[in-house]
Amino acid sequence: MEKKQKFSPEKITSDLLPQQFGRRGMIWTICLVVICAVGLFAYIRQLQKGLVVTNMGDYVSWGIYISNFVFFVAISLVGSLITAIFRLTDVHWRTPLTRISELIAVSAITFAALIIIVDMGRPERLFYLFTHGRIQSPIMWDVIVITTYFCISLFLLYITLLPDIRIMIDAREKLGKRFSKLYRWLGSFWKGTEAQERIRNRAITIICIVIIPVAFCIHTVTSWLFATTYRPGWDSTNFGAYFVSGAFLVGAGGVVVAMYVFRKIYKLEHYITERHFNNMGKILVMLSLLYLYFNVNEYLVPAFKMKKEEHEHLTGLFAGEFAPMFWFAILVGMIIPIFIVIFKKGRKPLPMFVAGVMVVVGAWFKRYLIVTPTMLHPFLPKYDAPEKYSHYFPSWEEWAITFGSLAGMLLIITILVRIFPVVSIYKTLTDHEDELPS
């Protein structure tokens, strides 16, 4: 373990306070806004003309929107992993990672909810879900559980932010006036008294306990959207666990990527240390292996039997139309990261970043592979329908909206990071005090 440097509380505070965008930050933000705007433009076109602007058809009736939705839901699970599970298991080095994972969770679940509305043929009838809802439908369960998870994630983010808001209010001379009103509105009542602290700590513990089953639910229920149908590739009792394990993997990958980026940009080398990368690397290997295990279950067992319906689907994945993407997702999304990260040298920041990107990109394609190939293999032949329905490649509108939503998620993170500290100042300070010899 590297030598722990000791800093004065003033230095820690000034290091971690949110900073104004530099030039790179501005360009980055503008790029994201532009991509979002293109996505929004594509969505307006879709609203006007209908889903006909997509390349979906009566066979592939769920396309890239749904796979993107699954991706967002998956990555949002990380909030519960890092904050809740690590807190309850008393993992001490979690401090600089919790805020990052909570930000990812809130932004991802927001866009999961938005992208599912984008997929609707009649978005203006969204309120029917509340006025005419049918509790038997897994979609209804998803609506309930995603709303719940969104609220819990937001609450978790807020409650852990409170002491930092106090610190920012106190440091208003340094921060300028821009957000001081917002800070005061959000947390001027937080005085950090013992009584307040006691209630807050208890609340965090409770919410950490609650968020774990809810997080499991969001992805399990999302997997049930598929697993409750008869289709080959979806008709699996393994699906819930398979999805949740994949979600933890992509979440961990996302956190690793974000750790690396924030460390570089905000010069947080002293706070997000190589030790953190090392530890996250071990977790990443474990989660990759876990997901790989579920993948073996998911593909080997039906491939062994090769039922008629599964046959076409599986051969399409292993050696057919989708084979390049399939092996890309397996190799890049799981196996190569394992081989990078399993070695101690691979758990340095840069290789970890590469592995994290691989995991996230691989995971995105994995979600695409879960949705589309199955839809292309219905039970009855694809016949008496337009030829274009027997293939699927997303249209530019679909790509634009997908990238727009991904950019939107990053934009939310960027904006939140501009307003709030990316690493909890308060927690870093208290950790620091604890470590000082008494």
Binding site: M120, T229, F379, D384, A385
Partner: protein
């Protein structure tokens, strides 16, 4: 015998028995109560020369059916259990069923509620033509997953879609193992007078952008006591439609006792193992009226898909 005609005679006879002659011959299968009486009376001669006063509706060639509310449509017709039998031995892939259906429901070319599949169960077995429509399952997987009650199972076995309710999530399409549902991806491009009509789930007209559509067993026709369009359009009598509670199915020309037919000809349902309990039965393609090749579209080799 044209079933439509015979039906109207029933109605006429029904009107006579109820409106004119005090004779209790009311059959449980003649829904004369549904026919709206005009209230005006005419004096007509009987064959014996008696003068009988009857309601003017007796002289209407098309019985006027009172309109039904959405609530009634969702309930279905009490006492009925509609069922269809498709005789694969008779199908020649003429697709008259499909064109009649598309015409009646104003579907555009890219949508087919009736599909005629070339099927071959195993490599060595003979190919055959299989018309497929919505199976109107007793335990419909599509209805199970609908989040807003937009698609529903009625007491008369019919599964319908309320396009005014559908939010376009397409879960039902993913859930249906029979690939029977189609989606209005774009504007259905209907004539203005049809677009102006209020949506009726029994006619499934007008189809609406961003909502799902499928075979409706021609619930409007069955309410009038007429056969679905695919049934009456088929020149080979492939489709037989009826009421399980009456134990009879008809293709217009012939009527069979349903229970005898499916027993004698070893009827089966598609994908029985999925537990969906379809209301559409198939009779196996044995002793066929046509060769499979007769049904092939000219100059087109069929892709054999298993």
């Amino acid at each position: 015998m044209n079933p439509k005609k015979s039906r109207r005679e029933f109605i006429a006879a029904g009107l006579l028995t109820t409106a004119a002659v005090a004779c209790n011959k009311k059959s449980p299968f003649t829904p004369e109560d549904e026919v709206a009486l005009s209230g005006e009376k005419v004096k007509l001669l009987s064959v014996n020369g008696e003068v009988i006063e009857v309601d003017k509706a007796f002289l209407k060639p098309v019985p006027h059916m009172p309109s039904v509310s959405n609530e009634e449509i969702r309930q279905g017709i009490p006492g009925k259990k509609f069922v269809m039998v498709i005789d694969l031995a008779r199908c020649k892939n003429l697709k008259k069923c499909q064109s009649a259906c598309n015409h009646a429901h104003h579907l555009h070319d890219e949508q087919n509620w009736v599909k005629v599949y070339p099927m071959q169960d195993a490599e060595k077995t003979a190919p055959y033509w299989q018309p497929s429509i919505c199976m109107h399952c007793d335990e419909p997987p599509c209805v199970k997953v609908c989040p807003v009650d937009a698609t529903f199972k009625r007491q008369d076995n019919i599964v319908l879609v309320d396009s005014d309710r559908c939010i376009g999530c397409r879960f039902c399409m993913a859930a249906c193992p029979y690939s029977t549902r189609v989606f209005n991806w774009g504007d259905p491009e209907l004539p203005a007078d049809i677009v102006a009509q209020p949506y009726n789930a029994e006619t499934s007209i007008p189809q609406k952008k961003g909502t799902v559509g499928k075979c409706d067993f021609c619930a409007d026709m069955t309410r009038m006591g007429m056969l679905p369009h695919c049934v009456s359009a088929c020149p080979n009598g492939v489709f037989m439609f009826g009421d399980m509670n009456e134990d009879s199915v008809t293709n217009g020309a012939e009527t069979f006792r349903f229970s005898d037919l499916v027993k004698d000809k070893s009827g089966y349902r598609l994908m029985e193992d999925l537990g969906t309990k379809p209301s559409v039965y198939y009779l196996p393609p044995v002793n066929r009226n046509f060769k499979f090749e007769d049904g092939l579209p000219q100059e087109e080799t069929v892709e054999k898909k298993s």
